[in-house]
Symmetry: D2
Subunit: 299 residues, 4 copies
Amino acid sequence: MEMVGFVGLGRMGRPMASNLCRKGFRLVVNDVNPAAVQELESLQARGAASAAEVAGQAGIVVTMLPNSAVVREVVAGPDGILAHARPGSLVMDMSTVSPETTDELAALARARGIGFVDAPVGRLASHADKAESLFMVGASEDDFARVKPLLDGMGSTIFHCGPVGSGTRTKLVNNYLAVTSCQLNAEALALSQRLGLDLERTLEVLYGTTAVNGQLKIAWPSKVLAGDVEPGFTIDLAHKDLTLVSEAAHAARVPMPILAAAREAFSTARARGFGTKDFSAMVDALCDLAGIEKPRLRR
Amino acid sequence: MEMVGFVGLGRMGRPMASNLCRKGFRLVVNDVNPAAVQELESLQARGAASAAEVAGQAGIVVTMLPNSAVVREVVAGPDGILAHARPGSLVMDMSTVSPETTDELAALARARGIGFVDAPVGRLASHADKAESLFMVGASEDDFARVKPLLDGMGSTIFHCGPVGSGTRTKLVNNYLAVTSCQLNAEALALSQRLGLDLERTLEVLYGTTAVNGQLKIAWPSKVLAGDVEPGFTIDLAHKDLTLVSEAAHAARVPMPILAAAREAFSTARARGFGTKDFSAMVDALCDLAGIEKPRLRR
Amino acid sequence: MEMVGFVGLGRMGRPMASNLCRKGFRLVVNDVNPAAVQELESLQARGAASAAEVAGQAGIVVTMLPNSAVVREVVAGPDGILAHARPGSLVMDMSTVSPETTDELAALARARGIGFVDAPVGRLASHADKAESLFMVGASEDDFARVKPLLDGMGSTIFHCGPVGSGTRTKLVNNYLAVTSCQLNAEALALSQRLGLDLERTLEVLYGTTAVNGQLKIAWPSKVLAGDVEPGFTIDLAHKDLTLVSEAAHAARVPMPILAAAREAFSTARARGFGTKDFSAMVDALCDLAGIEKPRLRR
Amino acid sequence: MEMVGFVGLGRMGRPMASNLCRKGFRLVVNDVNPAAVQELESLQARGAASAAEVAGQAGIVVTMLPNSAVVREVVAGPDGILAHARPGSLVMDMSTVSPETTDELAALARARGIGFVDAPVGRLASHADKAESLFMVGASEDDFARVKPLLDGMGSTIFHCGPVGSGTRTKLVNNYLAVTSCQLNAEALALSQRLGLDLERTLEVLYGTTAVNGQLKIAWPSKVLAGDVEPGFTIDLAHKDLTLVSEAAHAARVPMPILAAAREAFSTARARGFGTKDFSAMVDALCDLAGIEKPRLRR
């Protein structure tokens, strides 16, 4: 089995790499944080001093980094992964980046005879802990087959969305719906509260019609509606995703007025101190703004 | 069993009244359209020349009328139902009206010793045909018990939302979510199309995460995504509902920026000739606007 | 000279009627507030017990009332002005109402051989005090000539906008621009403050380019930018005007996304207690929301 | 008099540099387009093979380049201006860039003992031709005095907005107002047209109240309202400016809902083929969308 490189051991990367170690993959890892590297070494991973060193030793290099700029630097920088990767190796970027970033890196990799796969992550860090992540994968059929065992080691739901770039793009569309649903629900429940409706009875109706959405039915009952606004996924990160979607939409000349309005609502929530709360707390932000009692399920 | 009055035999009222006749209720009916009255007479209903005449003969009077203004006239006008209703009788308005209308009529009824229930209808006319409507009911416990057999005769899902006025208010919240989801989905799928994603694969992902919503998963696959934009519920009617929600939100001082943006999107769709299409065709309206291929499922 | 009727002696109507009295017009007046009638009687106006009585005595009846519903009742109600007006007389409505209201009343008047003019008021109550109002007049040429002396007695700037209905419509367009400019300026100055720019220098630039607008250059320096948010025109009234514009735009199928966004901003300001402030205080509302120092000119 | 370097001889830079030559400044110039360099050489400027060569010869280096990325490369790249500039020299960037770009370049310059001034341009290319540009300048008092003669040679209105970075920031605020006013006016005039109002009479009213703005009164009568939509400033460029403002606003957590709505309107106009028209043609884009006759002044 080929050696797996892993660069980026943050809140998502660490459990993902750890799960691979536990399932018997041989890993060589790197991160700017030495403690994270040591944690993986305790699971029999080999620590490397740089991304370049990782690239020199691995057949597949996974990157899980904070944003487009960091990914570009680490993958395509002068001393980056592509500069040191072995012919026939493959880079799988699992970070959340812009489609342009994915396309550029894939082209650079191709020019050097290196494979490229984009496989951003759905679901939360808590799912990564349990190897229950969802992955949206953009890859050729062959590359998909090559990374599939790795993905199975880190997650429970794997979608092959299409050729390289499809993973990143599908994630944009997916997160647009999920994140914007939170503001949609916030408006609906703030209105409901102000109109004096009973929360449980109202939800019972909404859950029984096509008005329902996944956030309202699956995510919210155990988060904001239960009074838990500790972040699974923060309003700040949701806002960052909406910014990526907005950039893609404007580049593609797709008018998205609800996106624009939702993004301002997230900006308002951040301006009022809700940035580090769970994104379901958008309803708290709106209720706070308008002087409305927050919706909470009876116990 | 007490006589049931039914005023308003349009696209929704006719099948609802018909179902009651078929199930053995005794009806006295009225409509501005004589043909509709005759149709009910063929089912053993008694035709009446006016709403006043209906009111004089019935213990419960159902109204199913086009908008707030007509309901006010027919129920509370000088020669209306309340002026001729018998003491102890009950009016159940099933029209889609503003909360203010419901509240005013309920107060007028109460002052005359007449019961009042608001029970607007969820789902489509095609459901009414099969007695599979969903009703959101605002009523006292006693009044709810009194109208329950009637509701069971016309629909399959009955929600008692709370006291008088709760039905109308719950419907506003419900329809806000359902209608606005259509524009949300329109933006997501237009972006998806422009980004070159495969529709089937993308939907498979969306259906597997909290990005999903009832319109996208339940309603759209057999409507716009199958190429069917014949109206179950028109964009014009959806726009009318958003206007009711907007009025309620502004009266209640609940800022709803997504609502506002969605309402302009429906206005745009109407300006471009999509008003009489099914409300799932919002995605066609956006794709047409931006020169994007419409999303259609492979057959 | 024909007798002038005046119905509606509120904050705007009282000074307007008073100015007519002072300039020698003979008035018969009515209001729901007896004190307002007495004040006019002290200026030699004749008090009347009802709008009907006014109509019976006057050649021209001016109405200056709070909203469409009141105007409809007073002008077209069973005991209203049209029911008692003399053949050949003329009604001039100066209230702010919807175009539909103007059109309906004009049609009812025409059917009875009574003239109708719509002449809503621009500028503030303080201008009315000094007979410096601006009027936007919808009238036939003959009717305009007939009411011109009256308008000259109450204001300093008279625009004949076109046939009946043009005054009301022009006011909608005018107030849309003026009111929405306030939110536009609010966003620009909030950003400017947050970016650390010097207010005086920034305004000097804006006043020297096509970025300028009348609110920013003419109205704001002596209002919010000077720390004066006592209402010339309240945020509540501005919001009401935006609602009239929104209704007209949706009826006419004109998508107006900035209008929609601005209306939610006014709703937010009202939800946070700014409704009774001057409409220039929209910038204070936004700065308060986002934790930004309010823009104030140095003294 | 010190030698003036000029890098970037595009549609704006060429006339600006030419005017300096004509007024007796000694110039050394560079551009990627050799023809542009030759044109300046015919005015006695010295052509240079690179920005580095310009930097080595000049006391003040002016940059006038297309966007933030190019400015960063040319000024701060490995073979850029800062790497070759003489101690005590000064870089004046007149491009439209993000505040972050200005701040970063200013800091890099300062660290090398080189002065930095940001002086973006207001008004159009046609003004630059006549040395009638407007400049918004961010500079220390000393640096401002040093560049003032140059600015006087290229423009007629010079604003010293504050310290370095103030020019770029002021331009953002200024262009936000100017650009968004176009969509505001588009909505107002589209509504006015649909309501059947006379354009000339309506403008006469608007020009006489605080509803007026600089675009409507100064720019539009000779552009779109006269049927001229040849670009002074294109919808594409206006959209680019709104994107810069949006990025700044979101970074600064200033909710700007009108900005967001306006940006989508520009996106819609671009999607429908209006991107290369003058930005006053936003009203044509909206009227086209909604099937409304375009507003044109009678001749």
